[in-house]
């Protein structure tokens, strides 16, 4: 986060967490305000359910609250919070995989709730846009978690390769290779879908 925005002083994330470590609860509120939507998007694209994503984001902030003393300024705050959120999302995916072993039924794609902001499109175009989004989301979910996570962090969250490398704790070269393979795989599937129509 930038320190200055429209002439007004904006504390960095690291300043905020330090203030929070000293007991300033208002600083925690500001952290929540800055990160809640971006974390929700990251987790939602990762796990594919908005309801579960909201729970995971809540849990992420609870962990930040609980473990605030564990944060050290040697790392970027965003790296720390994304690591927590990513770990929780991976745990959720593993839990879901175990559940699926025992359950025959699985939630259909059409059952999911979406909160899509109104951008003034005509109903037809909007319906087409929503459908496209659903197709892309479905294809993202078909990628393995290790490809899915990096492609979301890079192309949706627009984080740098360096930061992704720190979040998922793999070398930058591996991150780049995973991102590019994920992009090509995703595009190939989307092309296949379009050619079938």
């Amino acid at each position: 986060m930038s320190a200055h925005k429209s002439g007004e002083y904006q504390p960095t994330d690291e300043d905020l967490i330090e203030r929070f470590q000293r007991g300033d609860l208002y600083a925690f509120d500001l952290i929540v305000k800055r990160y809640k939507d971006q974390l929700l998007n990251f987790i939602y694209r990762f796990v594919g359910s908005q309801e579960e994503a909201e729970d995971i984001v809540q849990e992420t902030f609870l962990r930040v609250y609980r473990k605030r003393k564990a944060y050290k300024r040697i790392a970027k705050f965003s790296t720390w919070i994304y690591t927590i959120a990513g770990n929780l999302a991976r745990t959720e995916l593993r839990r879901r995989k175990r559940r699926r072993l025992f359950s025959v039924t699985d939630m259909g794609f059409e059952d999911r709730d979406y909160e899509i902001s109104d951008d003034g499109l005509s109903p037809e175009r909007e319906a087409h846009g929503v459908m496209q989004e659903e197709i892309i989301q479905k294809e993202i979910e078909k990628l393995s978690p290790k490809f899915r996570e990096v492609i979301i962090l890079r192309d949706i969250q627009e984080l740098s390769y360096e930061e992704i490398s720190k979040i998922i704790k793999v070398p930058i070269g591996t991150v780049k290779s995973r991102v590019n393979r994920a992009r090509l795989r995703l595009q190939s599937r989307l092309k296949d879908l379009r050619s079938k129509k």
């Binding site: 929540v32 609870l62 899509i116 846009g129 989301q137």
Partner: protein, 197 residues
């Protein structure tokens, strides 16, 4: 083909807009010449553009309220955990004392009761003197000799092919005397041993 390998990494950097300005021209001219690399570039670029164009979802309006409620609940639980133990101390003390007194009484009764001494079998009366089968007149067996093993006090061996009462024991004893010309077998029975002449 060799030149394509040289360009692979640069093509992906070009997709990410991370390529230095001086290398950009070189990559562009290669893409114009090589259809295979152009296809890879187009796929990766297209996937990236589609992901970047996905709609952003927002947290619901009650997100902060729910989070605050969860934090308040956690804080109250932590506080209760920290400050409740002095209140519960008398209860723990009374419960502990009662447990110690009960254990003391049980142990003292156990040690003073000869019937509950499980260490060795009790021999009621003198054991018989074993003699050789050739000299039956020298058989010196105390009538109604009885050896009680510790577990006999608790569980008579019912239904395991073992004689249960004195009649059966007498029959067994006589049978054994007949078969070995009047010489009793030693300790044929783990429960009760009676010999009659």
């Amino acid at each position: 083909m060799a030149s394509c390998e040289k360009f692979t990494e640069k093509i992906f950097d070009y997709v990410d807009s991370l390529i230095p300005a001086d290398k950009k021209k070189e990559v562009q001219s290669h893409l114009e010449e090589c259809s295979q690399c152009r296809s890879v570039f187009n796929d990766a670029h297209s996937a990236r553009q589609q992901l970047r164009g996905l709609k952003r979802i927002k947290t619901p309006p009650d997100f902060d309220t729910v989070l605050r409620a969860r934090i308040r609940m956690e804080r109250s639980l932590t506080r209760r955990g920290m400050f409740d133990w002095p209140l519960r101390l008398p209860i723990y003390a009374v419960a502990g004392s009662l447990a110690v007194i009960t254990a003391f009484f049980i142990l003292s009764n156990f040690r003073n009761n000869p019937r509950l001494n499980l260490n060795k079998p009790q021999i009621i009366s003198q054991p018989y003197t074993q003699s050789s089968p050739d000299n039956l007149s020298n058989v010196a067996v105390t009538p109604r000799e009885r050896v009680l093993f510790p577990m006999d006090k608790f569980s008579p061996l019912v239904g395991r092919g073992t004689p249960l009462n004195s009649e059966e024991l007498d029959r067994d004893s006589n049978a054994s005397l007949d078969s070995v010309r009047g010489v009793p077998k030693r300790a044929i029975h783990p429960v009760e041993f009676e010999i009659e002449f």
